[in-house]
Symmetry: C2
Subunit: 225 residues, 2 copies
């Protein structure tokens, strides 16, 4: 048998998973360089799976492979964040519109609704980490409700970058109240089968979030994350 969550994976898969985790946790800091041999030792495997993992992570935009300089964890600049948010804004809005068009039942929307509620509770408890987790869940579920699998994978990659930036910025800003209203409005629009409302509300929400983040980065002079 095989555990539900994951497991039974190759070393190459484990290397991808571990390196991702280390990048997000900061164990592999942004801008830092690491030789293949170093990572291989660190992960207890040979260079081969590390090389394969590097290719995957490079394609995902998390690292850069520079022969003889090492594998470099890509720093995220304000410009990067603007690019990422611009893509997210367009594609998630379309996903929201398409989700609204699908004619989902309330049962289908359970996960999305749960995420909205979780965000409200997290705000009430002033628990920013729980809020971030619920926010992630909302956006993940939103694109999952779109039939477009390409949007799902692209948004997934862009969301990684947002996640990296958020580990730095999460506790710098005001508690995100208005954001929750937007999420609930998007949820309602999908539930009520109103594609254009869903699209517009989500679009504005992401555009607002983008500007809030960028001014935060500027305020704290965060030119590299």
């Amino acid at each position: 048998m095989q555990a539900v969550g994951s497991k039974a994976q190759s070393n190459s898969d484990k290397a991808v998973e571990e390196m991702r985790r280390m990048i997000f946790s900061g164990e592999l800091a942004a801008g830092s360089n690491h030789l293949e041999t170093e990572l291989a030792n660190l992960l207890g495997m040979s260079r081969t799976p590390v090389r394969e993992a590097s290719l995957v992570l490079e394609n995902q935009g998390l690292i850069e492979v520079r022969p003889r300089k090492g594998i470099r964890v890509l720093p995220v600049s304000p410009t990067d964040m603007r690019e990422v948010y611009d893509v997210l804004t367009e594609l998630e809005s379309l996903a929201a519109a398409q989700a609204a068009q699908q004619g989902y039942t309330v049962a289908d929307l359970e996960t999305l609704g749960a995420a909205v509620n979780a965000m409200d509770i997290a705000i009430a408890n002033n628990d920013l980490d729980a809020w971030a987790a619920a926010d992630d869940a909302f956006h993940t579920e939103l694109v999952r409700l779109s039939p477009n699998t390409r949007i799902q994978s692209i948004v997934g990659m862009m969301a990684d970058q947002v996640r990296r930036a958020r580990t730095v910025t999460l506790h710098m800003r005001e508690t995100p109240h208005t954001s929750n209203e937007a999420h609930r409005a998007v949820y309602d629009a999908i539930k009520n089968g109103n594609p254009e409302t869903a699209r517009r509300v989500h679009y504005d929400h992401r555009a607002t979030a983008r500007e809030a983040l960028l001014s935060l980065l500027e305020k704290y002079r965060l030119i590299s994350l």
Copy 2:
């Protein structure tokens, strides 16, 4: 020294290039399966660079790696094309709007203008292949004029899929006159610094192209390309 175009590349790079070429030319047919050893022999190298190339092409959505079944060239279905066009529609429209906002001079827009003219000439000569090449050039240059590098790479990947479908459909349809008018209108909107016009015209253009392609695929019962 090093040739301008490419060269001085590793076997791994060559494998990516060659396999891409073979996929687009049909030498590696959609749906076909190929073992690592087979491709290695074909390309005159060992399995190692072929494996690395496979990972890259898998991330680009051109193939699927199925252990012991072989490397499978992914067929493109009408659903895939709809997904691809939906993403292209959103992101290229944003690129067009951003390009219009940049305040480019006519000199900056030379390549884009040349592509528009080339399309007109190709239509006049009834040369569909030249038209397709110019169309590619237009869309590539359009996103290059946007400052968003992520849009560039995502659109590049999606455009690959369009290219694959077009090798089949190009000679099936009517000569694309109206498409040229749209391209010129987008060019003009960018030149005149009119972001919203650029966005809207391009959006409608892509949406129209999508529907035209999908009805063509349906008409000829092309469920897999």
